[in-house]
């Protein structure tokens, strides 16, 4: 059962109650399972065909893990991941490989995600090889075409990754993701490791490709300004759970969850006049994020929430004890908070 009512559009990707727990063990000889790091703790959302869903949150919130669990790079501990109606969590071997042709990933670190011992041509052509698409001359042509599509000179087909800059390497990663003409691409912090003046180049490239090839993106990042720019809808994650999900305009205009409000308030705007004005309304959170091995009993945000006393007074709910439900409180606006 998906929690996002769809209306007309069929969801391309449907995530339901996804959980990714990493076990903590103790003991040298007998490894006792003493607990879990609850990296992703019950996440549900749909992604419509052709849209960009932004997944934003700070380090340790579980956004990258969510992306990997969707692609089955980690096998989820629990929950369902449906792609075009097919359940991915139960697929193995050949059947999983066949589906992977339609779902690809662009990774964060342009230095770690390319095999340094392979030429650019081999890297970009590898998905074609894995999925038995084209061969020989036709494959080489396709690789050249892909390099051109991402704005690289096809002449570089025989060069090695170390001969390129970070931004160029990221383009190689994009070309590789496009090779098999996927429908859905998970972009896991694709620009975080790049210099500011290069980030815009890659953002523009991703947007152009989305229009040209009808791609659907899950765009994972911690930079809310970038996410807001590229996404249609945005999900905000905190400590393994989604706290708010709505379209880009509403999230900025009317953030409901106290964490979203604090996050928006914390993002600097490159405009000294705007910054001076925002100063009065700044929300500064106290303290640090709790450990995902030991999340709070109630709402995950209760240790830092500035609105906790308001919830107790107005709704009579103790946020430390009772976990809030992730509900649609307005049309297409989902929040997990006792205040609503």
């Amino acid at each position: 059962m998906s929690t996002n009512g769809n209306g007309q559009d069929q969801a391309l990707v449907s995530i339901n109650n996804l959980k990714m727990y990493f076990p903590i063990t103790q003991g040298i000889i007998f490894q006792r399972h003493v607990g879990d790091i609850k990296a992703v703790d019950g996440v549900s959302f749909d992604i419509k065909r052709g849209e960009t869903l932004g997944l934003v949150g700070e380090s340790g919130c579980g956004k990258s893990t969510t992306g990997r669990a969707i692609l089955q790079l980690y096998r989820p501990t629990d929950g369902s991941v449906r792609f075009e109606g097919t359940e991915l969590t139960t697929l193995k071997g050949e059947s999983l490989r066949k589906v992977r042709r339609h779902i690809q990933m662009i990774f964060q670190d342009p230095y770690a995600s390319l095999n340094p011992r392979m030429t650019v041509g081999s890297i970009v052509g590898e998905p074609l090889e894995v999925h038995n698409i084209l061969s020989g001359k036709a494959r080489r042509e396709r690789v050249r075409e892909l390099l051109e599509i991402v704005g690289l000179n096809p002449y570089f087909i025989n060069r090695y990754p170390h001969e390129f800059s970070g931004g160029q390497r990221q383009r190689i990663g994009v070309a590789r993701a496009l090779a098999v003409q996927p429908d859905f691409i998970v972009c896991d912090e694709p620009i975080s490791a790049l210099d500011v003046s290069i980030q815009a180049q890659v953002i523009n490239l991703l947007e152009r490709l989305q229009e040209e090839f009808g791609l659907t993106y899950l765009f994972i990042a911690h930079d809310l300004a970038v996410v807001r720019h590229i996404s249609d809808r945005i999900a905000v994650m905190y400590l393994g759970k989604i706290v708010e999900l709505t379209d880009r305009a509403t999230l900025y205009r009317e953030p409901l969850h106290p964490y979203t409000q604090a996050l928006l308030s914390a993002v600097p705007i490159p405009d000294p006049i705007a910054e001076a004005e925002r100063e009065k309304k700044r929300v500064i959170l106290q303290g640090d994020v709790p450990s995902p091995a030991n999340p709070p009993q109630g709402c995950n945000f209760c240790t830092r929430c500035p609105a906790k006393s308001r919830a107790l007074k107005e709704k009579g709910i103790d946020c430390d004890v009772v976990e809030p439900e992730f509900r649609e409180v307005e049309s297409n606006h989902w929040v997990a908070c006792h205040l609503y």
């Binding site: 700070e58 380090s59 704005g151 690289l152 000179n153 570089f156 800059s165 931004g167 210099d195 500011v196 003046s197 290069i198 980030q199 815009a200 180049q201 953002i203 523009n204 947007e207 911690h222 930079d223 809310l224 300004a225 970038v226 807001r228 720019h229 590229i230 880009r248 900025y252 604090a262 996050l263 928006l264 308030s265 914390a266 993002v267 600097p268 705007i269 490159p270 405009d271 000294p272 006049i273 705007a274 910054e275 001076a276 925002r278 100063e279 700044r282 500064i284 959170l285 640090d288």
Partner: protein
């Protein structure tokens, strides 16, 4: 407001196997007492090397400060003796770095690392230093400071480690605090905490700050004046509102236009800067921004434009007045 720091024609190079890396190529600027100067630039712009050169933290070899003067308190720091510089570092001029986990000593307690400077520079005894250290930790907002003083860095979170670094940096009441990308490695809500803290301390203590970052958002909210660096040179310098409101160098213009803003109404295509920064070993002739500049002229290739006044307190290194000129090329970056 007196002048605290006067940097003249600073040049720093690194002598490597592949050639000479021209990291800083003639930086000149001044800093007033109590002023906050933001230095922005991308990787390779020379912003970090530039400030590390001020207090001679450049590893020599392979680095070498080959030219320039750094005038502080009537003496040239570049010509001071080793013991003189050591008495200034951590004392009158202190520095905090980007990643507190690698800049803090992992085998010493936080308390020990902070009190070290107090004992060395201010001549306190162990008891006095310990008491002052607790005060400092409280000042930077570390809860239960008296208990945490004997913790090790790995027992602190990233934000708390950075606060401890700030405490260390401010312990001897410096006149100048140099902060090299202190919040780049931190989450945005933690960054907001740290920036807020620095602003409060700045009001209480009144030290001058040089804040280095690539984040034009942070600088907008923090700096009085901003220097923009590219390929080891200052390309623009202005009071903060003037820089954002009236940028005069094509690089600054390009940078500001390429940033997605949180408060943008509709997403329009970002105006990106084509190409890459130049190779600092094969340093280009003429203006270092030529290859990526949409306003370039032939004369830009002959000689690098000098940094000249374009307004009150506003300097730019460009032959073109971008407020009046039209771009001369749409796709400057010919070779990929």
């Amino acid at each position: 407001m007196g002048t605290l720091l006067d940097v003249r024609n600073l040049r720093t190079q690194f002598f490597t196997q592949d050639g000479v890396v021209r990291a800083v190529n003639g930086m000149s600027y001044t800093l007033d007492e109590g002023e906050t100067l933001g230095i922005v630039g991308e990787s390779g712009s020379g912003k970090s090397v530039g400030v590390m050169s001020l207090i001679r933290l450049i590893p020599t070899p392979p680095g070498k400060i080959v030219d320039g003067e750094v005038l502080f308190e009537n003496r040239d720091l570049l010509k001071a003796s080793d013991s003189e510089i050591r008495s200034i570092r951590g004392n009158k001029i202190s520095m905090i770095f980007q990643d507190p986990m690698t800049s803090l000593n992992p085998v010493l307690t936080i308390g020990r690392q902070i009190s070290e400077a107090l004992e060395l520079h201010l001549g306190m005894d162990k008891q006095q230093a310990r008491a002052r250290t607790v005060e400092l930790l409280e000042l930077v907002g570390i809860p239960s400071a008296a208990d945490r003083i004997d913790d090790y860095p790995h027992q602190f979170s990233g934000g708390m480690r950075q606060r401890a670094m700030i405490a260390m940096g401010l312990s001897c009441n410096p006149q100048l605090l140099i902060a090299d990308e202190p919040t780049t490695a931190l989450d945005v809500t933690i960054q907001a905490q740290i920036v807020d803290l620095v602003k409060r301390l700045r009001e209480e203590i009144g030290m001058a700050i040089i804040w280095i970052t690539h984040d034009l958002g942070v600088v907008a909210g923090l700096a009085d004046r901003v220097i923009v660096m590219y390929a080891g040179m200052i390309v623009e310098e202005a009071p903060v509102r003037e820089l954002y409101g009236n940028p005069r160098h094509p690089y600054t213009l390009g940078l500001l236009g390429s940033l997605p803003r949180l408060d943008e109404e509709r997403p329009e295509e970002l105006k990106s800067i084509e190409g890459l920064p130049p190779d600092l070993i094969n340093y280009p002739k003429g203006c270092p921004f030529y290859a990526r500049c949409t306003y370039r002229l032939d004369k830009c290739l002959e000689a690098a434009p000098p940094l000249e006044s374009v307004g009150v307190g506003h300097r730019a290194a460009c032959y073109v007045d971008v407020t009046m000129a039209q771009p001369t090329t749409e796709h400057p970056y010919q070779d990929v």
